[in-house]
């Protein structure tokens, strides 16, 4: 059994990551899930959240939007709509998005369709800020 995982992360716009990692933690649909080498084949959807992985005792963080993750033969394939490494996040922009979403949520009634959209935006902004605050990269 290999003692490393091959992590491939791609978005429609580019191949973001392709490396050997020791372990990773992903925001699965039903909850946070950790993956170590030798994991059984798995297919799961991801929600907006933080994906982190460990490589040579160093921790890296990536903010991911909707996507999914497949594990097979110690290869982890992550397909996501958008993903940003922690050093790529524009903190000011995320903060602005957060404020905007908060304002909108206060003024919108719950039944409004936009409510869901803004809620998702709020979540994305929160995750970005959370990831940007972390080191690594």
């Amino acid at each position: 059994m290999a003692d490393k995982l091959k992590l491939e992360m791609v978005t429609p716009y580019k191949r973001l990551l392709s490396e050997e990692v020791d372990e990773l933690t992903a925001p699965g649909f039903v909850g946070e899930l950790g993956i170590l080498p030798g994991h059984t084949p798995l297919l799961t959807t991801l929600k907006v959240g933080e994906l982190s992985y460990k490589k040579d005792n160093e921790q890296f963080h990536v903010a991911v939007n909707w996507g999914y993750l497949e594990v097979e033969d110690d290869t982890v394939t992550v397909l996501v709509d958008t993903a940003e490494k922690s050093d790529e996040i524009d903190f000011a922009r995320a903060k602005a998005a957060l404020d905007r979403a908060e304002d909108a949520l206060k003024s919108l009634p719950l039944e409004d369709k936009k409510h869901i959209i803004m809620e998702a935006a709020l979540q994305r902004a929160l995750i970005r800020i959370q990831v940007a605050g972390k080191k690594g990269y």
Partner: protein, 289 residues
């Protein structure tokens, strides 16, 4: 024999044309670089998607989800991707003809085939030939195709498919190979056809699905359609710029050739005129003697 003035005028006009074709070539080259990057960048995602899908197919029956199951041969939709602008060689005509051929041949024996066209040129080309089959035309979306646009079109296609308006969906586009080579490609989008599973005897361990099988399929399969549309869009855009660049390049070269030919003709005519004038002067002075 055209007069000196006529030739000069022609040289001037050819030079003007050449300037335009040269400028268009430069613009296309700049756009090509960006479009090519986008097309190449979109490939890993689509390929990974295919890989996941074929892994999935090894484990699932064909009728596990409506988007996977084969239906009859009622109506089919053909999505044709062309450019909004011309002056790019055979780019638009080739792909439009391929779509036309596909519809005429109708090898699967569909009762009815409809056309959805992306790009103005495809509509212009097929308006008179297959006008009654065109159900929808999208314009001005190829130039900077975003994933969002592709997702919207993908969603529309899926809606039409699940409501059983169509039993199959195909897409015809120019796949980008290099700046000079584009391959007209026809792909089946729906029902989704996973790449052939490799070896049958391979022991297949069941996937662990989270949250559950139905939900995972329901999320991934529509995604696949969107990705296919997106990929076709960016590939088509890159091909368009490549086709325009090479056709404008050859147009510029033809113009240079023409200019040198005309210049030669002009010089000959000038020389002939001078000779004639000299002869007239000489014969005039001879006659006075």
């Amino acid at each position: 024999m055209p007069s000196l003035k006529d030739i000069k005028k022609r040289i001037g006009s050819v030079k003007n044309t050449q300037q335009i074709t040269k400028a268009m070539k430069m613009v296309a080259a700049a756009k090509l670089r960006r479009a090519q990057e986008a097309a190449v960048a979109a490939r890993p995602y689509a390929e990974k998607m295919q890989a996941v899908l074929s892994n999935l197919a090894k484990r699932e029956e064909a009728d596990a989800h409506p988007l996977l199951s084969k239906r009859g041969t009622g109506r089919a939709l053909v999505v044709l991707m062309t450019a909004d602008r011309g002056l790019c060689g055979g780019f638009n005509a080739n792909v439009s003809k391929a779509a036309e051929r596909f519809i005429h041949a109708n090898e699967q024996g569909f009762d009815e085939l409809d056309l959805m066209i992306i790009g103005r040129k495809g509509r212009d080309f097929l308006k008179n030939r297959l006008g009654d089959k065109i159900i929808k035309v999208y314009e001005n979306i190829t130039a900077d195709a975003s994933y969002k646009t592709a997702a919207l079109i993908g969603q529309e296609i899926i809606d039409n498919y699940t409501s059983e308006k169509y039993d199959a969906v195909y897409v015809v586009y120019n796949a980008f190979q290099s700046a000079i080579v584009q391959n007209v490609t026809l792909e089946q989008v729906l029902p989704i056809q996973p790449a052939e599973a490799a070896a049958e005897d391979e022991s297949v361990i069941d996937y662990l699905y989270e949250p559950n099988r139905g939900q995972v399929l329901a999320e991934i399969l529509p995604k696949m359609v969107e990705v296919q549309i997106f990929r076709a869009l960016v590939e088509s855009n890159a091909s368009e710029q490549g086709a325009r660049m090479s056709s404008m390049d050859s147009a510029s070269r033809n113009a240079s050739e023409m200019i040198s030919k005309l210049t030669l003709q002009y010089n000959r005519a000038r020389q002939a005129a001078i000779t004639k004038e000299l002869m007239e002067i000489i014969s005039g002075s001879e006659s006075i003697k």
